[in-house]
Symmetry: C2
Subunit: 795 residues, 2 copies
């Protein structure tokens, strides 16, 4: 076990690493050449266009203003300048709520640390000098401050139980307050948005097959009958636009391939036109052969224009084929209503006598829709859920088996057989020892690197219909993995499968004891974990080393047009499936060690504070969220923190029962019951705000809209809100072809809506729109409407 000195050294190393990263970040971010890596968000919202406006060639790439180098931590106060409402406006509620998790951590563990330091550390230190521990546990200085230092049967355990009660009540109070705040923030956020498609639209799945009637007609007929005064229009979903599972997603349909190719050609055309503009006297040419290396020399602009025309014809043919093939229409539709009230009612009620037909739910945001999973039938969904939950269980507990197998293959002998010519190099002692240290861990490292992707694929197979739900589901799986393999796996030595086996053969009361008794001994391990994974990891996050390198590489090799540069920026978004579970592991550690080894708390507090600054900076300057779910992940965050509290209580119970504190332990047994009750109450009290949409709210917003913009043509807007991305890109090409025309429908909508769409649309799409122009012809509108079987008749 590490002594306080060892911890100090480790802390020093990590602090130095973190500061080195921060210094590198401070130097790199003020170089104009890196501006698009460290401030992409501002480019996307259009607040920046070019890093510098000076004519000096050098200052275009390197910052020569040395004053700015001095205060290299000034980004921290800078991030705090943006207030929360402004932040929500700037980056969305998801990001703001994500930041609040860190603040919640500070609020829960800050006072807890103070109380624990004032009460528990004196109590622990004043006890016997660990005389009884010398037998089975190694004494460390950290242990002297922990509960291990208290003699068995001591009445001092009442102090620990008291602090545990105080901590639980305080944590529950903060959780309750936070849930309340987030729920009302969500409602306000939803209310503050002007008319958006998802507020009026319901996703209908499992539309039954009616003989002699198309799916579109069936949907229209059903909703006209059952929601007569509220139904407006619908869009039927087509399967052929995308490749369907179980074909891997890399195999694309004809349509998608053609669209991709067309985008590429358009890019080349833009590039050549730009070239021509710069040098009007030299018309760009290329050769027609492979990669333009040989063959006939032609005019590039004409060549690409010709190719685009061909592709457009191909797309139109494909498009017509889809329209004529009734088999390709799947049993899902987006149904729009003329009021929020109508949509809220439809989303929350049961439609059909058969409860697995006509399943309705709120439509996700158009850009949040995961199109591939829309048409999975109900029975298939049930089976998928079963299979995936079994697979996750197997993955968590048995992942070590295939890895051990691969490890047994990937040893030096194996390597020498595969690459015999490298034998001399391998035999060289330095390389040999390096490989021997490196190879066994390689399979595990590759697996851990692949893990989020594997879990995401599992979630996709499960059949969720929105990216936000997919990410939440992946986060849940990832948390489960971390809990078992990182937290419990570190405390109880042995692999998860060994643990599972031993737990199955132990009594349920024995398990918390087994884990509880080894908790105090692992405190130093977790302190090191916090410093490496938390402190240094966060500093690495803000440095963005990988995107930095990738951006400059791309800039050198691929980038030809503004569109390419926009693409190369790759701002990414908050990685919810990884960030939230990792973060919640800190809550778990904090809750478990708050009473056992309070010295761990300051390390966690520093992590929370530092990570808060880092993520605040990244959210303001870098990340561009792909979708906005209005903090829909909060119930998961809340549940898992409550679960952490429960785990900590059970483990303390187990620990105390090994301390023979028979007269104080029963007092603690009430706490889990109270915690579960708190959880249930919160679930009833707040969760509906994240699942349902209150009619009161809907009526209010409808009335406001009615008052402010009574003349809006909702129908034509809603009818094309849920276009499949492929169809949308076809549409955009057609726009560029026709070049002009006024979008009558959008013109009717509020300017704010336009702005929001621009701000929040994906950067790619956005830029495309700027390039090709934002106009739309009557022809295109008609084309689109027929493509999605929009109901354009009045009713």
């Amino acid at each position: 076990m590490a002594s306080l000195g060892d911890i100090g050294v480790s802390a020093l190393i990590n602090i130095v690493t973190a500061f080195a990263f921060l210094l590198a970040f401070a130097l790199l971010r003020i170089q104009p050449i890196n501006d698009r890596v460290y401030f992409p968000k501002w480019y996307i919202i259009g607040a920046r266009t070019s890093p510098t406006h000076t004519a000096n060639f050098v200052t275009k790439f390197v910052n020569l203003n040395f004053k700015t180098y001095l205060n290299f931590l000034d980004w921290m106060p800078q991030t705090m300048r943006m207030k929360e409402p402004e932040l929500i406006e700037h980056a969305g509620l998801d990001s703001a709520a994500f930041l609040r998790i860190y603040v919640l951590g500070l609020r829960i563990f800050g006072p807890a640390a103070v109380v624990a330091f004032l009460v528990l550390i004196p109590v622990n230190v004043s006890g016997g000098v660990l005389f009884f521990l010398s037998k089975d546990l190694v004494i460390s200085d950290i242990d002297k401050l922990s509960i291990s230092n208290v003699q068995p049967k001591s009445p001092k355990f009442f102090a620990h139980i008291l602090v545990m009660y105080l901590f639980t009540f305080w944590a529950c109070y903060m959780l309750y307050k936070e849930y309340d705040v987030i729920a009302s923030m969500r409602l306000n956020f939803l209310a503050s948005k002007s008319r958006r498609a998802e507020q009026f639209t319901v996703l209908v799945r499992n539309v039954p097959h009616v003989p002699d009637s198309s799916v579109s007609d069936t949907v229209k007929c059903f909703f006209k009958k059952n929601h007569s005064t509220h139904y407006l229009c619908h869009q039927v979903y087509k399967s052929s636009l995308i490749s369907s599972w179980p074909r891997p997603s890399t195999m694309r349909t004809n349509m998608q391939r053609a669209v991709r190719k067309r985008q590429k050609m358009q890019n080349y055309l833009d590039y050549n036109q730009l070239k021509f503009e710069r040098h009007p006297n030299k018309r760009p040419t290329r050769k027609t052969g492979f990669l333009g290396l040989w063959g006939q020399k032609v005019d590039s602009i004409e060549y690409y224009q010709q190719r685009i025309k061909e592709l457009d014809e191909k797309l139109t043919t494909e498009h017509q084929k889809i329209l004529k093939d009734p088999k390709r229409i799947m049993s899902a539709a987006f149904v729009s209503f003329n009021s929020r009230w109508g949509a809220a009612v439809c989303a929350q009620t049961q439609q059909s006598k058969n409860p697995i037909l006509w399943l309705t739910e709120w439509a996700p945001e158009p850009r949040d829709v995961y199109w591939k999973n829309l048409a999975i039938p109900f029975v298939s969904l049930s089976i998928r859920k079963l299979v995936i939950s079994l697979a996750v269980f197997a993955l968590v507990f048995f992942y070590i088996i295939p890895i051990a197998f691969v490890q047994s293959l990937a040893n030096l002998e194996g390597l020498e057989k595969v690459v015999p010519f490298l034998r001399p190099v391998i035999e060289w002692s330095f390389v040999k020892s390096f490989l021997q240290g490196f190879l066994p861990g390689l399979a595990l490292k590759i697996f851990l690197w692949l893990l989020p992707g594997i879990l995401m694929t599992m979630s996709k197979i499960e059949g969720h219909v929105a990216f936000s739900v997919l990410e939440r589901s992946t986060a849940a799986k990832y948390y489960f993995f971390m809990l078992v393999n990182v937290f419990l796996g570190s405390i109880v030595t042995g692999t998860a499968i060994q643990q599972l086996n031993s737990f199955l053969h132990q009594s349920p009361t024995q398990i918390p004891r087994t884990i509880g008794v080894s908790i105090p001994m692992k405190a130093t391990f977790f302190i090191t974990y916090i410093m490496v994974d938390g402190w240094a990891g966060m500093a690495g996050e803000i440095l963005r080393l990988k995107p930095l390198i990738m951006f400059h590489l791309k800039n050198m090799v691929i980038v030809k047009t503004a569109r390419d540069r926009q693409k190369a920026m790759n701002p990414k978004s908050i990685d919810f499936p990884e960030a939230i579970p990792s973060l919640q592991l800190y809550f778990l550690m904090g809750a478990v060690y708050a009473v056992v080894t309070p010295i761990l708390l300051p390390f966690i507090l520093i992590f929370f504070a530092f990570a808060y600054f880092v993520y605040r900076h990244q959210i303001i300057n870098v990340y561009n969220q792909r979708y906005e779910s209005a903090a829909a992940f909060w119930p998961h965050v809340h549940h898992r923190i409550v679960a952490s509290l429960l785990i900590s209580q059970l483990l303390l119970l187990g620990l105390l029962s090994t301390k023979k504190a028979a007269n104080s332990t029963p007092l603690l047994a009430v706490l889990p019951i109270l915690t579960v009750t708190f959880h249930k109450f919160c679930k009833n009290r707040f969760e509906p705000a994240f699942r349902k949409y209150p009619l009161e709210e809907a009526v209010e917003k409808d009335a406001q809209d009615e008052a402010s913009e009574p003349e809006t043509d909702m129908k034509s807007y809603l009818c094309e809100a849920y276009l499949h991305p492929v169809l949308r890109s076809i549409e955009e090409f057609e726009l560029s072809e026709l070049g002009l025309g006024v979008d009558k429908n959008r013109a009717h909508f509020s300017s704010q809506l336009e702005k929001e769409q621009e701000n929040k649309g994906s950067p790619k799409m956005q830029h495309l729109e700027v390039v090709v122009g934002q106009h739309e012809s009557a022809y295109t509108h008609h084309h689109k409407a027929s493509a999605q079987n929009v109901d354009v008749t009045d009713h």
Copy 2:
């Protein structure tokens, strides 16, 4: 362990007992004097008025037609004459669905018994002759037919696993089919009913307190705003009408006391008027003193009329006091809509931004409402649920402690101290041995007799708002008690608390082994249990000995008027809280023993068949259901049978693992997973039919109503549908006072509705209506409307 011969003797005794009961029943039921005991249902629906129409005095009481004595089992075919649709019409869907549970039992276990007899018994018998069991188990003939007779490690266990798979699949298939049938029966039943108040009404709880606005105005304003086109009217619930918890229910409010007294006076008045009619020359008199024993002699009719007038005045005063006291209006209301669609939407959606305010749910039938629990706030409900679930847990596992304590007091020494003068009698050896055998069990027997009442009280404290829900909740608690204390308690010797303790200290894989290994040994015990509790118990049920005696006693002592005789009939209804859990214990026994000791199945099959006949007879001729929940209990029945399947699989797993059948046991582990999946699928597929009301259905029914009776005045009907029973009785007194007037509102409603209400109303209320006349004056209507704050303004 009992041999086959012992079982035969036991069977003979029980068959003889059952036949004796049946014979007694056959003799008693054809006596005209018992007609009201064995055929009360027909009196209630008005199909019978008097047992005989002959003038002969003797035949009025005793049946002298000896032919009818010969075929004493002819009631069995008689019960089958009534087909299911007719039965639903006659007794309601609850009763019909209850009978289907028995048929389901026959369908599941019939084929299972055939397969088990053809496959498993030969397999079991052909094995070694229990040589290995002689050490630790007593050999019995029954055991030779059971799985105990198979040698450890035998490949024969594959046969058992195969049969378990077949049985589970067959049971799931039958369960699925049955759920499907019941769900569609429920929808048809709800659809076939004409307009009823509960189809248009939603119960709203947790109405928030708005300053300067009465609850009634708040409700009106909220629903006018949020359900503008559908809201019709509402009735606010008043707390002062009933005593509220925690005051015990025996303490009544002034109002209730007055109403009770008035009913009594009315009864005396009726009796004296009847007396006067029979002997017009002698006017009945009574004395004014205590119990009419002394004091001034007055004319009875005038005396009672005077008293009734006084009470009416008192009631009116009380009534006015309630109306004027705004504090007495509680935060619950029945809100009615002008269409089923509107009510369905309101019941299924979230109303308020704060999800614990304005909670809506379908209103129960008016006669199903449990008024006392309407106004419990949300937070209180959460706490009550927690407290009661802890209490139920304690009751199930620790009930034995107070009983053992009482038993230790109630011994002979204690008795001698309390009643020293009885010492000579107690010391007499015969009495002493009787008491010694009797006293220790007395406390337990009293507890078991009180148990359903205790559980019902617990459910009431939990805060359910309908009698049907209360009974379902009680049934769930009772089943839990039976499962732990009867089923597990019989298999594993020792009290529940000892079991709990040992289970807590065993590994989770050890528990099914511990139980599984002793299952085959307990087969004879359960066979005896089935014969005593099932066969003889059912025969006792049809005999109705207690109601028979009570009726004749009451007839001799209390009965003065027709109303009293109606009351004395006491047909009761199916005792769901006891009948369903007991019945499901048989499903559990069948599932567990189907593979282990198949010889048990025929006993269960006989029970199901016999109980089916008995209950069919009782439902047709005796029971009068207090409410109709349209088979709302079915999901519970289904879940518990699935749980039985799961328990049986786990126990078989445990049993096989002790048999060292290592190569066959893992095959069985898949079965619980499949069963859980089946359960989840059924829950999604069918449960919404029992919780929600599909809009499709609502629209259809609304359209039908519109077509058939477009002119109905819904509002005036719905405005007074949910009157508190006390107010309703006050109203009825006023009717009798005023004597005439035409009920305009009801006249508008279909005659079928009237008929249904008459058929299904409680017999007491019904008779009262017949006595006091079914008319209602305009005055009363106004009175009533103001009493319940009905919104009578148009909007």
